[in-house]
Symmetry: C2
Subunit: 123 residues, 2 copies
């Protein structure tokens, strides 16, 4: 039995759900961190986000990000690995993810987003 949780197909990704998902500061921070890390690794595991919130709260946010199609979750043993569904998002809404990430970067201090160097050093 596969333990991979359900994901929407590319075609099922809906703009209102994506915007709603990104409107939460913690989910925006998760997406921002995944995007920052993309150059180093396409995936991060749950523990990489511990600085953002408590474990059960993060689990809830991961599910929301998966359900709206922003994030792909891969289960390996007891670990879960997350990556941005950048290609799917770009195919559905060209330029949207980058515009949101750029906006978030501009307000990184105000949004208390993790700095790029923090992510790299955490490796």
């Amino acid at each position: 039995m596969s333990r991979t949780p359900p994901h929407p197909t590319r075609e099922q990704i809906e703009l209102p759900l994506v915007l709603d998902c990104l409107s939460d500061p913690i989910r925006l921070a998760i997406v921002y961190q995944l995007a920052q890390q993309e150059r180093v690794s396409s995936e991060l595991c749950c523990g990489d986000f511990n600085g953002l919130s408590g474990k059960s709260n993060l689990t809830y946010h991961f599910a929301k990000l998966r359900d709206c199609g922003l994030m792909q979750t891969r289960v390996a043993g007891t670990n879960r690995f997350m990556r941005l569904r950048r290609e799917d998002l770009e195919a559905r809404f060209p330029g949207l993810l980058d515009a949101v990430l750029k906006s978030a970067a501009k307000d990184a201090d105000r949004l208390q987003l993790v700095a790029e160097c923090d992510v790299v050093e955490a490796d």
Copy 2:
């Protein structure tokens, strides 16, 4: 006494609030319609949106759009005129509004957005 309702300053416009505001399909449709109309007129009045929802519901959505900084409301007599705060949004989050509008246009049928010709004909 001025009857102009309060608006956030450019600097007070916050990304999570803007994204949350745009995640509602009716508010997204209002913003889309304002953007479509910009080439003809920078302002629309309440009645121009009657096709989207009931009057009291629209009043609620106009207030949300105003409070998050997406829209400017001008009161003239018994009329209210609305326009997009494009310059302020572009200054705060370059490219974001256009990326959202482009994404919305791509899903116009799915989101039941008013077609450009409908808006122009409604004049």
